[in-house]
Amino acid sequence: MIEPDETRMRAGLDATRRARRRSLVGAFVALALLSALAVNGWLGNQRAAATRAAVAHSHAVLRHTLDVESAFARMANGHRGFLVNGDAAALADRDAAYAATKARLDDVLRETRDNSYQQARLARVATLVDERYAQMRAIEAIAARDGLDAARAHFRSTGARSGDAVRAALAMARAHEDALLRQRDRASARDTAMLDRLLLVGTALAFLVLVLAGLALLRLLNRTEAIGEELRRQSQDLHSLFRLSRDLICVSSLDGRFLRLNPAWERTLGLPVAQMVGRPFLEFVHPDDIAATRAETAALAEGHETVSFENRYRDADGRWRWLLWNATADREAGVIYATARDITERKHAEQRIDALNVELQGRSQALEAANKELESFSYSVSHDLRAPLRHVDGYARMLVEDAGDRLQPEDRRYLDTITESVRRMGALIDDLLALSRYGRKPLEPQRVDMAALARDSLRDLQPPLPEIRIGALPAAQGDPALLRQVWSNLLSNAVKYSAPRGDQACVEVEGEAVDGVARYRVRDNGVGFDMRHAGKLFGVFQRLHGEDRFEGTGVGLAIVQRVVHRHGGEVRADAAPEQGATFTFELPAATPLAA
């Protein structure tokens, strides 16, 4: 009953462990994925920020290039203004613009320090700007020396071209920066797209893993709940069993102290469980049982089981209750689990039975002794009573033989009477011995064909016989040798007492079986008897008719009754004077033959 539960619980625990491992692994994988995503995102962001900074730098470079160009244009304008109207202020503007150009150019150079191409380009621009400025100073010198017109002429031959070279060089620098910018934009776009994809896939994966881990967790929860329910149910069952059991249940330590007791203890011994817990159980055991109980406990501690051990416990009223124990020890846990049953009533009943048995044995011995006595009595009757009878008869006959001629007829009659009396006494002794033998012979019951037995017993009867009708008779369970004597005696009686009817004499035998009882009737149409004397009928030596009319010792029916009684049956008679008699006897019906 416990084993399958245990197996199921163990399987449940295994499954729970697996589910827990799965959900933990899932959670860990999801965590790792998310961490990777975070690191990647952060790195991407870093990269994007760098790209953005580079883009801003490019924009700044472009803007500053334009600044250079515009300052350079102002320089040219200032120079041209001077050439138009020889204004010294314009020259000042031009010089300021030159300084600004150089300053902006320095800015750009600083900003493109890590770009050798741009550095070269810008160095060229600076050279061109310086050359241009030097030209302007030369033209200015021409103007101061040869006049404005000479200067204008010189300017027209050189000026415009020099300015174009600067602008072209700047344009090239801008174009390069533009290209850089476009390149950076593309890289930034690529990074973003990559980051997006990574985020999407990573998130999806993390989601999937989380869902799986969640499912595992759900299953784990379900299983845990189921196991919890099972445990609760089992614990409920155990608790109910413990609380409601009529048997005494206890847990005790290997050194023999009560640890837990169920309420049946209180109901049986009348002692509160709280008073018993913690105390050595030997305190409650009958002094005569202590040694055996101690030995049994030691055997338990060595790993033997206790089966059907009996001892006595004192109850609250100081009476002793017999307990029947079964127990086993859990040596690892150091405890003994035991159940006991109160068998006091049974014990008392057993004691009563034992007492009765002793008494019965005494009676049976007395009976046996009586039987033995009877046996030796009948033996001595058989031997010692018969011998003198034989002598009486023998000497009477010898007297007749030797002195026959000298005897008077009256003397002869006396001697004949002696002989007849001896014969009757011999018959009485024989019948008495038969009665004793039929009472003592051990029964050997078997299935008996009663009709065949009745017919066979007719051979004992002295002819002439009247009409004897033997019908169908049920089989009986009995001893054939004894039952044959029943038939013999009843039939010889019937024949004897119906003899006065002469040719009309008739004896009928019939029977039936009802509810396991076989009933037989022997009916005659003879002289019958008065039912007032029926009580004497089955007594030994009891006769209802004078001996001169019917021979007999009065033992036959006593034998019939003894044999029938020994079979557990009954015999009775029904008659009326001159109306015939019916003898009915019952026996156990034969057990049905096996098919």
Partner: protein, 150 residues
């Protein structure tokens, strides 16, 4: 017929009445004349072994022993056992003549090797007839084994 003639029957019987009736019958019917009578088992053994009071006996072993069952000192069963154990006497026919029809006595007698078991009838006519038949058969009709030489 003198007393050195071989004895025909040894009657072992404690009851003198029974003995007288038996002897009378056997003699009257002319079955046997040389019959010796002893009154108990001890005497019977002394007789057969020619010891004690019978030490001077010279008439040999009987053709038949008629043995009563219930006797003082030593009963018939004991006598029977000793006779059948002794090579000198085991071939002598022994007929148990008793009043007892107890099954136990019958079984014991036959298992000790009795040659016949007769219940003495109470009625004298039957008794005489039975004794006569036993005598006729065992003494007149039956062939005894040759006496052992040892």
């Amino acid at each position: 017929m003198n007393q050195y003639q071989h004895v025909e029957i040894l009657l072992v019987e404690d009851s003198s009445a029974d003995a007288e009736m038996t002897l009378r019958t056997l003699k009257k019917r002319g079955i046997a004349n040389d019959i010796d009578w002893v009154k108990d088992g001890v005497e019977a053994l002394e007789y057969l072994r020619c010891e004690g009071a019978w030490a001077d006996r010279r008439n040999g072993l009987p053709r038949l022993v008629l043995l009563d069952l219930k006797m003082p000192r030593m009963d018939g069963l004991e006598v029977l056992r000793k006779l059948k154990q002794d090579p000198r006497t085991r071939t002598i026919p022994v007929v148990m003549m008793t009043s007892s029809r107890e099954e136990g006595d019958l079984v014991a007698s036959y298992s000790l090797g009795v040659n016949s078991y007769i219940v003495k009838p109470v009625d004298f006519d039957s008794f005489a007839e039975t004794v006569a038949q036993v005598g006729m058969y065992w003494v007149l009709a039956n062939q005894t084994a040759p006496a052992p030489t040892a």
